[in-house]
């Protein structure tokens, strides 16, 4: 491979856009920079030639704030490249263009406390039981979060003959109902735990837990399976592929044991390859299901049951674990 040297012939020629603060462009790196270059081969008989490199950075942040809600949108555009008018003398024939969009919208309200005639004083921890009782009757105290993201990039040589695309997108929705809302009261996932809480003397009693409302995350991603031995064995090589996945999580207090809380945690994940080759489908490598559930005592033991497989860790179909958390103070 020939080694080339790039000379910046007109290094001072920068085309830059000014920064516009928080609502527009931000940061010193923002803008467009084009640098004309002279490429001089360090070996061989090829003569040199002109070209240019470019770097584009543009970020747009939009923030909309209110007392108890906010929306943040971040858009980052990045492009880098090294272009020679005679491509044979380009020492770094590589262009990369990427776009990243992140959007977060959150709303939250506080549970109602300390109304007229109330025995709850939020500034006095001695009144915490009265505050808990009021919170359980509260129609306020709900929260909603929507988190979305999109990442896409294209890498290529300067003639776009070799091209590699990557992308990913996700959407997470978290709804936490108010304690006395219908959604919280009717959530069937919490019914067995409500019963055990009531029977074990947990302070929440038979009341529902807003943490038990399911949380959902959807994602689509481009996977580079370079270390996937199974796919290599079946396909001979490891081309990139697209995969969708779903995750549903919940937690809930289960009860009270020795004065401490027992908690339940659960997560279910499903991965599905989009448009898989027949051989991958026949081998059952196009989809994976994984579920994990755990019971844990506050600063004590933890019992975990996991079943199914994750795409990157395919060991074991079902695992029971019993452990004790050791505190190092």
């Amino acid at each position: 491979m020939k080694h080339m040297l790039a000379w910046a012939a007109l290094a001072g020629l920068f085309l830059s856009l000014p920064a516009h603060g928080a609502s527009g462009l931000a940061g010193e790196d923002q803008g467009i920079v084009v640098t004309p270059k002279y490429f001089e081969p360090s070996a061989g008989s090829t003569s040199g030639g002109m070209g240019f490199s470019y770097k584009i950075r543009k970020s747009i942040t939009s923030t909309d704030l209110a007392k108890d809600a906010y929306r943040v949108a971040d858009l980052d555009f990045k492009a880098d490249g090294n272009v020679a008018f005679n491509r044979n003398i380009n020492p770094a024939d590589f262009l990369k263009t990427g776009l990243e969009l992140n959007y977060v919208a959150q709303y939250a309200s506080a549970v109602a406390q300390g109304g007229p005639g109330s025995k709850c004083d939020p500034t006095n921890p001695d009144t915490v039981q009265a505050c808990e009782e009021e919170a359980r009757r509260s129609k306020a105290g709900d929260a909603l979060a929507l988190i979305a993201g999109l990442v896409a990039s294209v890498e290529s040589d300067q003639r776009f003959e070799k091209r590699n695309e990557t992308f990913g997108a996700h959407l997470t929705t978290l709804y936490r109902p108010a304690p006395a809302s219908f959604a919280n009261q009717a959530n069937p996932l919490d019914w067995p735990f409500r019963l055990v809480r009531g029977l074990t003397g947990h302070p929440m009693g038979f009341s529902p837990s807003p943490d038990a409302f399911p949380k959902v995350r959807l994602a689509v991603e481009r996977v580079h399976p370079s270390k996937d031995k199974d796919r290599t064995a079946i396909l001979g090589d490891t081309p990139d592929y697209n995969r969708a996945n779903v995750e549903i999580d919940m937690t809930s207090p289960v009860g009270k044991l020795q004065g401490r809380q027992v908690k339940f945690e659960w997560s279910w994940r499903y991965f599905k390859e989009l448009g898989p080759p027949d051989a991958i489908q026949a081998a059952g490598l196009d989809q994976y299901r994984y579920s994990a559930a755990a019971l844990s005592l506050d600063s004590g033991w933890k019992l975990t049951y996991a079943t199914g497989k994750l795409p990157l860790g395919r060991e074991g179909d079902a695992v029971w674990e019993l452990g004790y958390k050791i505190k190092f103070d």
């Binding site: 939250a108 506080a110 939020p122 943490d211 949380k215 937690t251 207090p253 908690k263 844990s296 506050d298």
Partner: protein
């Protein structure tokens, strides 16, 4: 590990938030029957799901962080310490979420972070510097008369 302190409203607000939102059943300080909430790890609070993905945990931590901020603003204070006066709500949420997502951090750690961000009533008020600034300002006769009526000379 450190216990919560009743004289610190930041500690009280973190404790009350966790209890009224069903995250913990521990008492304010340790008793013979139960350890205090100050020593409780994030991983033992109800919202913390070690079975789920890290992406989901970060999202849940940000939601709890926002709820904590709204709770403190509603029942304790809206004033911030000078280092956080110019921060936006999402920036403050990120500060709290960084603690909430760390399984090894304790409620005492969270309360300390809350204390660094918010200025509570017993820690002085932004009104004090304003009063100091206006102390030497001449008052009009009408304003003096109104102040005398309400007992301020």
């Amino acid at each position: 590990m450190a216990e919560l302190d009743r004289s610190k409203q930041a500690d009280v607000s973190a404790f009350m938030f966790m209890r009224v939102n069903g995250q913990s059943i521990r008492p304010f300080v340790s008793t013979d029957a139960s350890p205090g909430m100050g020593t409780q790890k994030m991983s033992d609070l109800t919202y913390f799901n070690s079975a789920g993905s890290q992406d989901m945990l970060k999202a849940v931590a940000a939601q709890i962080a926002h709820m904590l901020m709204v709770y403190i603003n509603t029942y304790y204070t809206q004033q911030r310490e000078s280092a956080f006066e110019d921060k936006t709500v999402p920036q403050i949420v990120r500060v709290f979420a960084d603690v909430l997502v760390d399984p090894g951090k304790t409620v005492h750690d969270l309360a300390s972070t809350v204390d660094k961000v918010f200025r509570y009533k017993n820690e002085g008020s932004a009104a004090v510097p304003v009063a100091a600034m206006t102390a030497d300002q001449p008052l009009s006769a009408a304003v003096k008369k109104r102040l005398e009526r309400i007992g301020i000379n």
